[in-house]
């Protein structure tokens, strides 16, 4: 693992890249990213290269297509049945934005309330510090094992690896996380981390890695789940420390929340003597009442259920019920760097539902591993570069993430808190090009803009392109282009430039004649039918067509 001090980051608002630790000479300082070389916020290859390998995996493609399409359908059904879905999204978006605006006071309030109720609050500047805090707390209990509830934050900081290096075994208890952990693998989806594995693979992993498992175990999902239940039950009953993440932390009351399905979360949050929760600072919510919004938005967007099987809400320590000791670790790790970005900060509103992954045509083809980060998919492509930076090293793989999108916008429509991911992608691309200095691409873009902003030059360039007709075959099709355009002709043809541009047609007698003929035809047809009522009036009327929507598969969610 390499490590280096936080590098200057000229894409940041003040351009100085000074790593912040508070105000310097009265001027606000740019907060630092997650330290380079720590945690799981950077892959080892750029996205296109990583994607190429994943694209070749037929099994993965099949699993992903089936999974993403299934969840998509379920999500549309349960969001469609709520008449106030759009109003819930509006409220969710506003609550999160308001939260970010008031983050200092809300975190202080959360700290005060948790402390009042018998919990202890710790602050971590980055993943390294959070790992140290958790390790120290576990060591203080004398246990060399912890049980874990699926948590994005602890994956992000590489907590399990750190605990292991200190002789503490961390047992993932979510079924999918267990599969991933036993296989020595990495999660590939926020919600269903083992989506890249099929049942036979999981059976083999269980047979090989679960001590004492029935060697005749078959690949029936219910049997596999039962094997995991038997294995983990012993852990739940005996391990005295649990580590969790949190979906929400309520400032007003000090209440923490974990949303889950299997009951492993309830086990971890209830049975051990000590509970340690690691929560990103952006997960705070102002009021208890805000749960009424997010407990509707999250399950419906995430699993496509009206409600997930289990949600736990706890406030500090309750004598006689649950852990006797509760620690809350509040994690920065680059979040404040994102918060400092006027546009990019919107990514912090994410509630980790994974709806954007499930609708993303890119994620659907490549899967989560290609993104190289704990956070895959569209939200990962905007969150990862902001938390960890995208120009921290030469050819930083994170700089390829904002380009891992066709900007189709499906993620924006699916997001329960209305994060405009396409706009964030475009913004991060811009920050990257600003950071990248002079590149061949930038020079080409400059040259193109210089030509295109001068009509005479543009017209001349159009003429210069005409000889491309010569490279086309007799069928007027171009089937092979040189780099960097060969990626196109690997699987697509390109038509040869036409004989005449539009502007030369428009200026020609042929063009003028065509328009005269069209005008004449229009006049005749309008005279002929004596002005049909459909013509020339306000278009609103057409909305009343009884068949206006019939058979239309693609009216946007906005119109619901």
């Amino acid at each position: 693992m390499s490590s280096s001090p936080t590098r200057p980051d000229p894409t940041h608002p003040d351009g100085s890249g000074r790593s912040g630790g508070g105000t310097f000479l009265g001027l606000p300082a740019v907060p630092p990213r997650s330290p380079y070389g720590t945690g799981n916020l950077r892959g080892d290859r750029a996205f296109p290269r990583a994607a190429r390998e994943e694209l070749g995996n037929e099994q993965l493609r099949r699993n992903l297509t089936r999974a993403t399409h299934t969840i998509r359908g379920k999500r549309l059904a349960v969001t469609g049945e709520l008449p106030d879905w759009e109003r819930l999204r509006e409220a969710g978006s506003a609550i999160k934005t308001d939260t970010m605006n008031r983050l200092p006071e809300l975190l202080e309030e959360l700290e005060r309330k948790v402390t009042e109720r018998g919990g202890t609050v710790h602050w971590a500047r980055d993943g390294v510090e959070a790992n140290e805090i958790v390790t120290r707390l576990v060591e203080a209990t004398g246990s060399d094992e912890v049980i874990k509830v699926k948590s994005m934050a602890t994956q992000e900081i590489g907590l399990n690896e750190h605990l292991e290096s200190r002789g503490i075994a961390a047992h993932e208890t979510d079924l999918a996380e267990l599969i991933v952990q036993l296989a020595g693998d990495k999660p590939s989806h926020i919600l269903v981390p083992a989506i890249h594995r099929n049942r036979e693979e999981i059976r083999d992993i269980f047979r090989d890695r679960i001590p004492g498992v029935d060697p005749g175990l078959d690949a029936v999902p219910a049997h596999l789940a039962a094997a995991a239940r038997a294995y983990l039950r012993e852990k739940f009953m005996t391990v005295p420390v649990a580590v969790s993440g949190a979906n929400f932390g309520i400032a007003e009351t000090g209440t923490l929340s974990v949303v889950e399905s299997e009951g492993n979360g309830r086990m971890c949050l209830t049975l051990p003597r000590t509970l340690i929760t690691v929560m990103g600072i952006e997960k705070v919510l102002p009021r208890y009442r805000d749960l009424e919004v997010f407990l509707q938005l999250l399950p419906r967007s995430s699993t496509g259920e009206r409600m997930n099987p289990y949600t736990s809400l706890w406030t500090g320590v309750t004598p006689g019920d649950g852990p006797e000791e509760f620690h809350l670790v509040l994690l920065d790790n680059g979040r404040t760097a994102a918060l400092a970005d006027r546009i990019g900060r919107e990514a912090l509103n994410c509630i980790r539902c994974s709806a954007c992954l499930n609708v993303c045509p890119v994620y659907e083809r490549t899967g989560g591993h290609a993104y190289g980060s704990t956070y895959p998919g569209p939200i990962g492509a905007v969150l990862t570069p902001q938390l960890a930076g995208m120009d921290a090293a030469k050819n930083d793989p994170n700089s390829s993430l904002p380009y891992a999108s066709s900007l189709c916008g499906a993620c924006f429509d699916a997001c329960p808190v209305k994060i405009d991911i396409p706009s964030l992608l475009v913004e991060l691309r811009h920050q990257h090009t600003e950071q990248a200095g002079t590149t061949a691409e930038k020079l080409a873009m400059k040259a193109a803009a210089a030509v295109m902003s001068r009509p005479q030059l543009f017209t001349a360039a159009q003429k210069a392109a005409a000889p491309a007709r010569l490279v086309a075959g007799r069928d007027k099709v171009i089937s092979r282009l040189p780099p960097p355009f060969d990626g196109w002709t690997d699987s697509r043809d390109l038509p040869a430039p036409p004989r005449q541009t539009f502007r030369s047609w428009m200026a020609s007698e042929e063009g003028a004649a065509a328009l005269r003929a069209a005008a004449e035809e229009g006049r005749r047809s309008r005279d002929g039918r004596g002005g049909r009522p459909d013509d020339g009036h306000d278009g609103k009327h057409d909305d009343d067509r009884p068949d206006g929507r019939h058979g239309d598969p693609h009216h946007g969610e906005e119109e619901r």
Binding site: M445, D475, V477, G487, S491, F502, G551
Partner: protein, 257 residues
């Protein structure tokens, strides 16, 4: 109505038939189509690839060319270029432009429309008097659908076409994988998306796949041509411009344009 026509750099250079059809259609409907000759490109490719300083002169040129107050509306046969004018020019002007540019951009943005929006919302027509006796499937391009929210306006226009056999495209709202420079930077992923799109197009048995954007059609058409699918691509404007008097003969499938 006096309508400024923006050909788009791609339409002007590579797909003039779609722009000609737009001019013919609007003229047939009785409008005055104006082509400001100094027009070039909206700068969408620059912005979407991460460049916001470089397209400032393009944004300025667009605002200058179409700012003419005698133009009642500005139309372009491209959802993504209309999206750029309406959503991105402001970003560029705010960040790297001056006060005059911001004012110019705001004025043009307010009267800029993609073709189906202009026809249905502004001109109030769905039946444009077209005749096109062929089997057609419609791909709603991402920026028309999710950036401009044109909804079912293109389909309403197509349903009113005389003689048309309109068939639904499976998973129509899925991206074709073009995404501008995405098709080059992530060519493999883009090609995987395209393959699913061309499979779906082929499954409809349509003679023609249409859409409101020549760039997406160039992509889909390039894929259909490579696999010799037998389905051609035509811009929505070309179908709407075709009449019994001036019919559009089906081009050869290979000459995808």
């Amino acid at each position: 109505m006096r309508i400024g026509l923006f050909a788009t750099c791609l339409g002007d250079t590579l797909f003039p038939d779609a722009v000609k059809a737009t001019a013919v259609l609007l003229t047939r409907l009785g409008h005055d189509v104006v082509f400001p000759p100094g027009q070039t490109c909206c700068g969408q490719m620059h912005v979407n690839t991460g460049y916001q300083r470089e397209p400032v002169p393009l944004v300025r040129n667009f605002a200058d060319q179409f700012g003419d107050p005698s133009l009642d509306a500005v139309v372009m046969p491209s959802g993504s270029c209309a999206g750029s004018v309406r959503h991105q020019h402001e970003i560029v002007a705010d960040r790297y432009g001056d006060e005059a540019l911001r004012a110019g951009v705001a004025a043009v943005k307010a009267k800029t429309y993609e073709l189906s929006e202009l026809l249905v919302d502004v001109l109030g027509v769905t039946d444009v008097g077209a005749w096109f006796p062929h089997r057609v499937t419609y791909h709603p391009t991402c920026h028309s659908l999710r950036m401009l929210r044109v909804g079912d306006k293109p389909l309403r226009l197509l349903r009113a076409v005389d003689g048309i056999d309109l068939v639904e495209l499976p998973q129509a709202d899925a991206c074709c994988g073009f995404g501008g420079t995405f098709a080059l930077k992530n060519a493999g992923t883009s090609a995987a998306m395209l393959q699913d799109k061309t499979d779906h197009v082929r499954s409809t048995g349509a003679d023609v796949c249409t859409a409101g954007d020549s760039s997406c059609l160039m992509h889909i058409g390039g894929g259909l041509s490579r696999i010799k699918a037998g389905t051609r691509t035509l811009h929505l404007a070309q179908i709407l411009a075709a009449t019994r008097t001036a019919p559009l003969p089906l081009p050869q499938p290979e000459a995808a344009r």
